[in-house]
Amino acid sequence: MTARPPIIKPRALRKGDVVGIVAPSSSPFEEGHIEFTYKWLDSLGLKYKLGKHIFEIYSDFAGRDEDRLEDFQTMWADPEVAGILPLRGGNGSVRLLPQLDFDMIAAKPKVLIGFSDITGLLISIYQRTGLVTFHGPSAGNFFESAYTFHYFRKAVMNGGKPIGVVVDPPADLWKPQYPPPRLVIAPGRAKGSLVGGSLTVIKQLMGTPYEMETEGKIVFLEDVGEEPYAIDSMICQLLLAGKLQKCAGIIFGESVGCKPGSSRRTVLPLNVSVERILKERLSNLGVPVVYGLRFGHGDRKFTLPLGVTATLDAGKTVCFKIEEAATL
């Protein structure tokens, strides 16, 4: 394994800071979506700058690679900008990696927060520079629920305090959502720094210089709109590559739209649930595995910082604690 740089933590965002809104992956669905974002940024006391190209469309990207890269790097290099908020994921972040100026990024540590396709930036920047990056809501949806908003603030606007014990969103007693947030696939205790993100993007990074490193880490995984057999395939690849046998623990997220028949993929007449796949593939690794925590593509998501120490205790109850501060 390549020697990795020491961990760098960004300064927490605070009132009066300027954040940079960019679109390194796909463009916002509609420009109007951003109006809501402006309002919520105001309420947090944050000012914002917009990337030059965020409304451009080329294929399913927010403009050409050069344009998305220029926006991302210009914003990152801007001394006035304290945090980078991609508008959304989609597709396209991995295309930027060969041209990304990791030295510049390391020299100007700041908050980067997003999920889904942004995983390509979160993992590569964390591994290349040591900078703690944040798997949490994109600028386009950090206001989607009180829960998401709460953890966004706790993670990046909390004056350098740790996130601490992660608590589930309040359950609706009469219509609980499957999966339950803390289904124990394999019991046990783990301590390690966090790494992970979208399973599809993690697959996209396999065999590249940005492949996710997992040894001794608590790995968090999630996806959206994939049939269980596709999830099975991606987990089998990680196992074949030895990525899960030496990790400290695994947290598999809620993964909305991954119930049999709920994706837009070919639905098989015979099927199986994600829960069964996780039990079959991951219950005998000798590390704790928990399924259902609310992060990723659901409306209620907590924020996970890559590169900080957390503990997972999975027994009769599950305690997941992000014990180390993620920001300065």
């Binding site: 469309i57 294929s59 399913d60 989609g90 597709n91 991995v94 295309r95 990696l97 060969p98 599809t200 993007v201 697959k203 996209q204 990074l205 396999m206 065999g207 590249t208 210089p209 940005y210 492949e211 269980p228 057999y229 596709a230 099975d232 395939s233 991606m234 089998c236 690849q237 196992l239 074949l240 590559a241 990525k243 837009r264 993929r265 070919t266 098989l268 007449p269 015979l270 099927n271 199986v272 069964r276 796949i277 593939r281």
Partner: protein, 312 residues
């Protein structure tokens, strides 16, 4: 390099389902008849109709069928009945030593690409990217598959064309013309990406990369093709040939460019000869292509010339 022996009348062919269970018992019966019609004797794996979720039995059961045939000297070749996910978790427990000791032809496509490439990579044995037997639904597919397993001769694969009255107008497209020579490597794109970062990751150096897919979203295909670029694989290949991408398209009503544009742009950028429009893949008329054999891609003529078949 080792080669499997070419099949002759009466040879025993093992039928397996390494991944998703065949559609039904009727599909398995059909698959056996296709093989018999080619003049071979079909030996159906014990577990092909088991169910374990969508899979044709547990990993152990599917492995037992495969390894049973691989180590049986009376079995001359192994054909896949159906595709779908499921070969991947078997790769680290396949009996590769048996293949080296007793080389036999392996035929399949779709996600069985993982099986084909693992055997090819571990044993330096050419394999056949040919329709899973449940897809052999035309004289074209039948004849192409039979030819591929019964002759070692060179063969020329042409891109498809449209017949308009008396005229035949080619459907081929290239974003960067040229000639390329190399050993064929390829199959189902998503399955090739499933091997990246694993001990079965293919060596792309000097290869003619032959890609197909089925029912996949354009944005996902672009993602996988980007993996090939970022991992340095595209820089290594000598040329790229594209087969069928049946059922592929945009996700919902999303804006996204078709692969001829997105892949084509990337290949133009890296200056690699490429050609779209070949007939291997997963439709009722798919052709069979030997993998692991020397070949020449000519984008002006619209052909892949395979200099030697997969068999001896």
């Amino acid at each position: 390099m080792i080669r499997a022996r070419k099949l002759k009348n009466g040879d025993r062919v093992g039928l397996v389902a390494p991944g998703t269970r065949p559609d039904s018992a009727a599909t398995v019966a059909f698959a056996a008849r296709v093989v018999e019609e080619m003049g071979f004797t079909a030996v159906t794996g014990q577990h092909v109709l088991e169910t374990h979720g969508h899979l044709a039995g547990t990993d152990q059961q599917r492995l037992q069928d495969l390894n049973g045939f691989l180590s049986d000297p009376a079995i001359a070749a192994i054909f896949c009945i159906s595709g779908g996910f499921g070969a991947l978790p078997l790769l680290d427990r396949l009996d590769y030593d048996a293949v080296v000791q007793n080389p036999k032809l392996i035929v399949g496509s779709d996600e069985n690409t993982a099986l084909l490439l693992a055997v090819h990579i571990r044993c330096a044995l050419p394999v056949v990217l040919g329709p899973n037997l449940d897809r052999v639904r035309s004289a074209k597919s039948f004849d192409s598959l039979k030819r591929c397993v019964t002759t070692a001769d060179a063969a020329v694969f042409e891109t498809r064309s449209e017949s308009i009255g008396e005229k035949r107008i080619s459907l081929m497209y290239s974003s960067y013309n040229g000639q390329a020579a190399g050993v064929t490597l390829g199959g189902h794109l998503g399955s090739i990406i499933s091997l990246m970062g694993t001990p079965f990751q293919p060596d792309f150096e000097g290869k003619i990369l032959c890609l197909d897919e089925y029912n996949e979203r354009y944005d996902t295909l672009e993602r996988w093709f980007t993996n090939l670029f970022i991992s340095g694989s595209l820089a290594k290949v000598s040329g790229t040939a594209f087969g069928e991408f049946a059922g592929c398209g945009a996700r919902g009503n999303q804006t996204v460019l078709p692969i001829e544009d997105s892949f084509g742009e990337r290949l133009k950028q890296v200056r690699k000869p490429n050609l779209f429009g070949f007939g291997f893949g997963r439709t009722n008329v798919s052709e069979s292509l030997p993998l692991g054999v020397p070949a020449e891609l000519d984008t002006m003529r619209g052909t892949i010339k395979v200099l030697h078949g997969a068999v001896e």
